[in-house]
């Protein structure tokens, strides 16, 4: 169905300096995505590739439009962090016909030529593991927990589910008092404040991302509980800001998970470059996103 001109299509490029690539982020307000972008831009710079960044702002249709425009505009490869992979199917298929490489990072899309994927359930499990370990050691496996999820993105919901299931499985004596949507510092702060009013002895906040966790930390700090040995905050994404709070001695910010966004963005460009050199693969090329727990001890040690 994608007729018309083939403007911008270059035949099997060998010199990468006349290549151009676009990055379409699901939400550039999210520091993790933003760091993927940084990796993408660095890789492009190192390889003399012209690059563009687009922000879907969590809007699926905007991302479809962006990617469509980028393909029509003659980009050679698109690196994406999809809001929703299924939505991209037809544009990416059309892109493939034009010889455009498409690599997804974190979320997947069946029609992309490459994928650096994240298993969100496992990710949630790893975030929760940090908390489980600490609760077992310091609270004797008991306590009250609240989960701050990112409930408006499918993959993040799976992450939240991973957190919830792990805690329920590993710590039957722990009471999960709430699961609320809070994926920004602002929301994390007010939701945690409100939860503290209702449950003053709330021990642990497990947040699906650092942004929510950082807000929760502010809430505890406002209540003078930022160094309470009975409390803990756990999250994922290993942003610099989270590390800053973790490196405060006696801080209740106790754990996060490193998803290596910069490396992912860099690797995606390299994968695309390879594909453009070798020709697009028939099968999607897959590579798992690295994921390592990061605890307070490590934060204090590297300080």
């Amino acid at each position: 169905s994608a007729g018309g001109t083939d403007a911008g299509q270059s035949d099997s490029p060998t010199d990468s300096s006349n290549l151009s690539m676009a990055f379409s982020g699901s939400e550039l307000a999210n520091p993790w995505v933003s760091t993927v972008k940084d990796g993408f831009e660095a890789a492009c710079k190192d390889n003399n590739i012209r690059c563009t960044t687009l922000n879907a702002g969590s809007d699926v249709d905007k991302q479809v439009t962006d990617v469509q425009n980028a393909i029509n505009g003659g980009q050679n490869a698109i690196i994406m962090n999809p809001v929703d992979g299924t939505a991209l199917e037809s544009v990416l298929t059309a892109g493939k016909e034009k010889g455009v490489a498409s690599i997804t990072v974190a979320q997947t899309a069946d029609a992309s030529t490459g994928s650096i994927y994240l298993d969100d359930a496992a990710y949630g499990e790893m975030i929760a593991e940090n908390a489980v370990q600490w609760i077992k050691e310091e609270l004797g496996g008991k306590g009250t927990v609240a989960i701050l999820g990112e409930e408006n993105i499918e993959s993040s919901i799976a992450r939240g589910d991973g957190i919830e299931e792990t805690i329920k499985r590993e710590l039957p004596d722990v009471k999960i008092v709430a699961r609320q949507h809070a994926n920004t510092p602002d929301l994390g702060l007010s939701v945690t404040q409100n939860l503290l009013l209702q449950y003053p002895d709330l021990n642990v906040i497990v947040a699906a991302n650092d942004s929510g966790g950082i807000g929760a930390y502010q809430a505890f700090e406002n209540s003078g509980l930022a160094t309470d040995p009975q409390r803990g905050i756990f999250s994922g994404d290993k942003t610099d800001e989270a590390i800053k709070y973790m490196s405060i001695p006696d801080s209740i910010y106790r754990g996060t998970v490193d998803l290596q966004p910069y490396n992912a963005g860099y690797a995606a460009v390299e994968m695309a470059l390879q594909q453009l050199k070798d020709g697009l693969p028939a099968e999607q090329e897959r590579q798992q996103l690295e994921m390592t727990p990061f605890t307070q001890e490590e934060a204090l040690a590297t300080k």
């Binding site: 018309g4 249709d61 939505a87």
Partner: protein, 320 residues
Amino acid sequence: MNRDRLVHYVFEYGIVVVLAVLVLVFSLSSPSFFTASTLTTILSQVSVIGIIAIGMACVMLLGSIDLSVGATAGLVSVTAALLMSMGFPVWSAVILTLIVGIVIGLFNALSLTLFRIPSLIGTLAVMTALRGLAYLLSNGIPIYDIDAGFKQLAQGSFLSIPIPGLLFLGIFVVVAIVLNRAKIGRQIYGVGGNEEASRLSGVPVTRIKYFVFALSGLLAAVGGLLLLARTNSGQPSAGSGYELDVITAVVLGGVAITGGKGRLWLVLVGVLIMGTLSTGMVMNNVNDYVQQVVKGLILVAAVAFSQIAARSQGGRTITR
């Protein structure tokens, strides 16, 4: 005198000049811009916003506003996907969800006419509620298992014009005719211009409000179905923030926010300006952050141009 007339038209339709300039600039800066495939792509990309904007234009001609359109589109997208995944045939899912859109519109009209809630706040509240409902229904997760044939709605084309674009143009033509040629169109302008005088002239004001809000709801539902077909999955967040884009397009098209004044075909131009800007900037490798800044500035410039033009024609109006 002929020169005067020309000047008059150039100024009255300043917004058309803005569109022409944009097309020119992008065509020069990017060779692949002024091609059939780019232009039809723009048309199909703006179709959702455009269809919803047609309904919004009617609502704004009445002097009201409908902030619930984006959320309606989202709810319809989720509901239709849900119905199809439950095995309902495509046609029944479509009809049911179009009815959902109409019912939402009727509710908006009800809250305006019976409870006398200003539409700005009434539809804002409905927007909040519907968005919550869309998440509740889908449990926050996109729904994929939709009928394979359905996406033809977005991906098919006829005479090499994509179907969403055709649908948009078709709806535009019908509504434009109704607004200009039909009784109810005249009544919409009348009510928007002076509700009290219209009522005293025997215009069924309340009925017209129901009609217009139902139309807006219906067109938002059509937009939602197109979104579903485009993205191939029912997204609870679909259409978020569309209300602002749609209002931008409508006001760009010169519809007075106070009602009673404006031309539908200029709204079409407004919609195209928005689409051209997005596509043109992406094709020219403009960074997204910069895109937003440029978009904002161009919108200000475009409206300023057509306002100054209108003023030079002597019409002194109070702007707020």
